[in-house]
């Protein structure tokens, strides 16, 4: 077989070496795509900052990471408080407008009722052996979950980047979240 460069001299026929290189390049691309396909991806957008709503995104994220998935939780608006080191210790359950609370709204609206409802829930969580929010954040980060804090909301709420747990990703916006969502197999808004 001829491997003379004559075939490339006129610029229309690629040489065997060029074809070989092209084949190798494509094989690498296919291998990368296949590897990428095996890795499941999940994006959760966490928008709520009440005590009860902090749990679902963190439980799902840490569990998904245990499956070896690539997980991003994008925290925006009140969801940002989950990542706020100080505020996350003090998330409240709302007693008003909560049909699961065994009290009428008129009573639930009294001062201190949110705190009481939160304390009741907290004690049930302790009794049940359910992890604390801080434990779930540590666990998620340990498992490689990327916890993102929306930059626009940080500024809107007048938070400081240092207010968040270590290893929380800051300086990201909607475009970053969308990019991961577009590549994700699962997208959830909580």
């Amino acid at each position: 077989m001829s491997t003379e460069p004559s075939s490339t001299a006129d610029g229309t026929q690629p040489s065997a070496a060029e074809l070989q290189a092209r084949v190798e390049e494509l094989e690498e691309t296919v291998a990368a795509l296949e590897a990428d396909d095996e890795q499941q991806k999940m994006t959760i957008v966490a928008t709520q900052g009440t005590f009860d709503m902090a749990y679902p995104p963190l439980i799902l994220a840490s569990t998904a990471a245990a499956f070896g998935w690539d997980v991003v939780v994008f925290h925006t608006f009140w969801g940002l408080d989950i990542l706020h080191e100080e505020k996350s210790q003090n998330l409240q359950l709302s007693a008003v407008g909560n049909p699961n609370m065994p009290m009428p709204n008129a009573l639930a609206a009294l001062p201190g009722m949110d705190r009481l409802a939160t304390r009741m829930m907290q004690s049930r969580i302790d009794d049940n052996g359910t992890a604390t929010i801080e434990e779930l954040i540590d666990l998620s980060l340990e498992q490689g979950v990327e916890l993102q804090a929306c930059q626009m909301t940080i500024e809107l709420m007048d938070y400081d980047e240092d207010d968040f747990y270590d290893d929380v990703t800051v300086g990201v916006g909607a475009a970053t979240a969308l990019q991961h969502m577009a590549e994700s197999d699962i997208q959830l808004l909580v």
Binding site: I59, S62, T63, A66, F67, L139, E142, Q143
Partner: protein, 81 residues
Amino acid sequence: MSVNYDVTETLDVKGASCPMPVVKTKSAIDDVPEGGVLEVLSTDKGSMSDIDGWAAGTSGVELLDQVEDGDVYKHYVEKTA
């Protein structure tokens, strides 16, 4: 019923509930050598379904057995790769 596996390591997550049994199992299996068997002790009823689902969806592990022993759910996970 008693099952005897050559257990390499035991993870005790008694008292902890979802998602701890699965997440701690994943962390523990990472440290088990290939061919080793991890025994997981849990009091979480949901762990029966959760660890089964996790093992099915995770490569390199195989759930050998799940045993209900009084209040304790015992899981035997082999690290296959």
